[in-house]
């Protein structure tokens, strides 16, 4: 019930209000993020609702792991955002990873501009694995992140790399494709 309320609040205000205002709380110092980042974090969580992971992968890990590669601001924000949220019946664990070796156990891997230097290596590691890679950089989509946020006319949209998706073991709800830009 509580989750429902959170989702309702999120849903109803997602389009117009900063997340801090949506939840009716004052964002703590250091957790603040610019509007677009906040929006992307919110969208990232919505996107996960349209994605299915293999059950075995989830069971093996024992927890639903949301990793943020090398971006503490985004990590903090996601930590706050996923605080009261359940994914696949589990309470997600948000982790800040800095080493490539740590990304293998992730279910969702956020890659911001700060990952630009090692994006190819990261994507090699996640290829053919049930890891939803979500990029936040203009070229990440073409490079192989499954989902990548883009700015379209000053709005936050996202694109899906179809090949990367096909190479993963994930299943994405087809309705998500309706609102995404598809990269073949």
């Amino acid at each position: 019930m509580r989750l429902n309320w959170v989702l309702i609040i999120l849903f109803s205000t997602a389009l117009h209000l900063p997340i801090s205002q949506q939840i009716g709380q004052k964002v703590q110092p250091g957790v603040f993020a610019p509007d677009k980042t906040e929006r992307k974090a919110y969208l990232a969580r919505l996107i996960t609702e349209f994605v299915s992971w293999p059950d075995q992968h989830v069971e093996n890990e024992g927890a639903f792991l949301v990793s943020v590669f090398n971006d503490e601001d985004f990590f903090r924000y996601l930590t706050y955002l996923y605080k009261d949220v359940e994914i696949k019946g589990m309470k997600p664990k948000v982790a800040l990873v800095k080493e490539l070796a740590e990304i293998n156990d992730s279910h969702i891997l956020f890659l911001t501009k700060k990952s630009s230097g090692s994006i190819d290596q990261i994507l090699k590691l996640t290829n053919n694995k049930p890891i939803l890679t979500i990029g936040d950089c203009k070229d990440f989509g073409n490079k192989g992140t499954i989902v990548n946020f883009i700015d379209v006319q000053d709005e936050v949209k996202f694109e899906i790399n179809l090949n990367s998706y096909k190479n993963s073991e994930l299943k994405i709800d087809s309705r998500l494709f309706d609102v995404a830009k598809i990269i073949d």
Binding site: N4, L7, I8, F11, S12, A14, L15, L43, L46, E49, F50, D173, R175, L176, D178, V179
Partner: protein, 590 residues
Amino acid sequence: MLKNLSIKGKLILIILVVTISVLIIGFVAIYVSFSSALKDDLNHNMVNTAKIVADYSITPLQFGDKDRAIDILEKLKNEPQIECVHIESYNGGIFAFYNSECKMPDLVLPNNGKGIFHEGFLHVVQPIVFKNKNLGRIYLRANTKEIDFKTTQIIVNMLVIGLVVVIVAFVFANRLQRLISSPVENLIKTTHQISENGNYSIRVQKKYDDEIGSLYDNFNHMLNQIEYRQQEETKSKKALAESEEKFRNIYQNSIIGIFQADINTAELIEANDKTWKMLHISPTKDSVVGKVLSLRDAARIRKSLLEKGFIENYEIFLEKDEKKYWLSISGKYLNQRNVFEGVIKDITEEKESFLELKRVNFELDNFVYHTSHDLRSPLLSILGLISISKNEKSLESVMHYFDLIEKSVKRLDALVINLLTLSRNSRVDKQKQLVDIKETIQETIEILNLNKPEKLEIKMDIKQHSKFFSDQTRVNIILNNLISNAYKYQNPSQDQPYVSIEVEVTDEAMNLKVEDNGLGISPESQSKVFEMFYRATDQAHGSGLGLYIVKNVIDKLKGSIRFTSAIRKGTAFHVTLPNHVNEVPESEES
């Protein structure tokens, strides 16, 4: 109105009513079913469409992608019946719409994806749910124009089909009704012929073995029965008519009178001709028999009927136009109808015969007495004279006694002759002989002249216009007796005694008048002169049978005799005898 329709009309009407009723019920069922199916289809399609739109609206709503939402809604262009669609977000705001912004109707719409028809539109509300989260709802409004068009089309089609079916049904009904109406009309036609002509030999021709065929059989059987009964009735009527005619003939021609009379009023209710004739009353003038009877007879008859219930051979005496009638009445009293039903018989002849018999018996007694006396009287006289003569010695005296004996013998002979004449008159019947009346009178006079007084003048006047046919012997007896009486009973004091004999013969009769101016007959004797052995005067020497014989002979010849007489002035006898000249063939007349 319908009851008076012909059977043909009724059959056609029934078939048409059934056909139209079935068509209406069928068409209504089809219409309702079709209309319901169309609505269900529309509802189903629109609900599915709303569900699809709702499903596709999840991500645009989640991600706030209005353009994408509009793209989805634009695909509804292929559904022309959709008036408008809008996607409401959870807070009730219109997120996107199709065609125009919809205005929701003022009614509670089920929020379960089921449509509702209202004011010519189908309203569908479909919630947008994703992972048990209510994201908003779709409102879809579709018009029912297509349904209306299709239902109108099917109504038109049904009307056309119905009209065709009714026309076909009428044509078939008009033809097929003959299967029933034709035999019935045939039956009606036959009954009409029978009733018009009264000909029960007509029969209906059976064609089918159905109920009407059975009706035909029964009708023909009934006709057989009627015809048989009619024939029997005709026979009975004929027999009855014959019987009635026979009875009526017997009734009317009966020698006895048959009648019914009211016991109280004595009025004849019904009577045959003989009754009226016997009672000498007329049914048109006076039918009350009581007026004919004497009060005594009427009372006795009524009393007998009321007390005994019948009356037998009650004799009544009537006198009409100086004639006497005797009638005998028998009958019984019909208590229930208060009617006396009886027969009446004319017994006048019997009664007269009876009286005649009584008279004859009396005459016979008288005859025997007188005859024996008259026969014995001369015989005793002769015996006395013979006895005296035996002792008489004088021849002169004996001769005188012989003369007296001769007189007695002649008197006896005359008596015997008269008796023979009487006997012959009753036995002999020969009335059609040619009689020469003149010669007969002359012969009679010649015979009688032996005893004719000297001064007696005989006058004769004979007018013969025709030949006279009668009984010669009887005519002789009449002339002999009448002329001899005229001789015998002369008045001694009469200076010029005469006997006048006048005769006139015509084709019809012979009229004889024998007149004298003799002693005449006293008034007290005039009624008795024709009786047997009656002697009007002691001076007479006759037997008292002369005029009796004359009267009997004239009666036998169906003639008549009358006389006029006055003491000491004379007597005139008038005799009329029928002339049978016209009854004799001309060949015999000569």
